[in-house]
Amino acid sequence: MDTETRLVYMDHAATTAARADVVEAMVPYMTEQFGNPSSLYDVAKVSREAVARARDQVAASIGAEPDEIFFTSGGTESDNWALKGVAFAHRGKGNHIITSAVEHHAITHTCAWLESQGFAVTYLPVDGYGMVDPVDVEAAITPETILISVMMANNEVGTIQPVAAIGAIARKHGVLFHTDAVQAAGHIPIDVQAMHIDLLSLSGHKFHGPKGTGALYIRKGVQIDPLMHGGAQERGMRAGTENVPGIVGMGLALSLANAEMAEQTKRMTALRERLVSGLLAIPATRLNGHPTERLPNNVNVVFAYIEGESVLLLLNRRGIMASTGSACSSESGEPSPVLRACGVPNDMIHGSLRLTLGEETTEADVDYCVATVTEVVQRLRDLSPLTPAELRSTGN
């Protein structure tokens, strides 16, 4: 069966294109309205007001007050600031941090560094779906615990964590609760009050905003050391001339994503299910992550007998852009720690494929992916020594 090659971007969890209306809104702040918000003259006032509007937009999308929003360079900086800023500010009270085994590197590597600085970190295990059990969180709390950090939704397998329950437990024990909401913001509803969240990280380029932008929500009253010292920007909490065009773009992108969320969730969930059932029709294939407590746009499967990087290379030749958690494809040479934590067995862990949909993804794109992946998997299975006879094409 020959299908015409089409370009299908299926890696929205890695990054997204900025929306045209967002880019249009940003440009003036790089050109005529280029003023530094800290300056006294009139052209600066326009920038200052634009930043304030963006702050209102971000705050409204997560149920926070505007003065609880601090702009950063992205999710990684927000995660670093939340962990390091709280750890050092509260070192007098205790030195224990609780996090999970499925966090993004910006959390796990920062925790590893904090361990080298004398902090103790508990990495909570997860179930087969990659989900943290709030009971385990509570059991891990000690008199030394100063911070719990559990992500809202996992970037690899899409599982949505029970953050409201974890937040309630943290609040009950007087421990601060941070959540990395980088994959969640703009995709699922967030209410920092109802979810008892004290700190939250988000990143502009994950919801069709520009790269190099992010925010950290810090609940009023939370003690935290700054990460960036210097000028008095962000109420003295995060030095550096504000990235006005970026901030404007991010605020608009998040507010649009929130306005369109209900409709997009419905549309994307249907596409996701179509993709999942198409892929699960391929024999010896399993879905990673929770089947329903899952980001609307995330699909992650594992194919027995073949390796992920080779799947990606063949898909790329056919116009499909996706990602994998195989050892061969990672910087470290190790397979995905998230898939390991989910208990994916060794003989399947290298054959993972992650496809994440976006606003522009159509049903035709999904069908093309299913057909192409089916063909690619069979090709690679025919090359593999591990494939059992009944799964080989005839003559292979």
Binding site: E307, E309, L313, L314, R317, S326, G333, S384, P385, N396
Partner: protein
């Protein structure tokens, strides 16, 4: 990441498949990335007259095993034994440094397949002696 020659061997792997009654079989599993390479030989009068391979692995692994089969097809066992991972990488016009370990599997699989043949023939398996001393081996 990969040059056109590697991509060609990856997308059009040479000599893939198995040989039902092969004279020698070598299977190697990489402890790091889990890659698996299985090589099948048909040997006549000390010459490799047919060779097939099956690979579980990344682009580099599939390309390296394909190239390895090309490098040993039609060679004597002694000549095939000398084919090194560097020969495979060179023949592919280079692999990214992180991926060179995939070519080592090819060299090991060739050695295992040749020794499997030798043992089945009641001969002593070869160690690294032939390569280290550069001797012509005598049966």
């Amino acid at each position: 990441m990969y040059n056109e020659k590697v991509m060609d061997h990856f997308e059009n792997p040479r000599n893939h498949g198995e040989i039902a009654d092969a004279d020698g079989i070598g299977e190697v599993v990489s402890p790091d990335c889990g890659d698996v390479l299985k090589l099948y030989l048909v040997v006549e009068d000390d010459v490799i007259v047919d060779v097939r391979c099956q690979t579980f692995g990344c682009g580099a692994a599939i390309a390296a095993s394909s190239m390895a089969t090309e490098l040993i097809r039609g060679k004597t066992l002694e000549e095939a034994w000398q084919v090194s991972d560097q020969d495979v990488v060179r023949a592919l016009d280079g692999l990214p440094p992180k991926k060179e370990h995939c070519s080592v599997l090819a060299e090991e699989a060739i050695h295992l397949a040749i020794n499997d043949y030798r043992v089945r023939q009641g001969l002593e398996p070869w160690g690294d002696v032939v390569r280290d001393l550069g001797h012509e081996h005598e049966d």
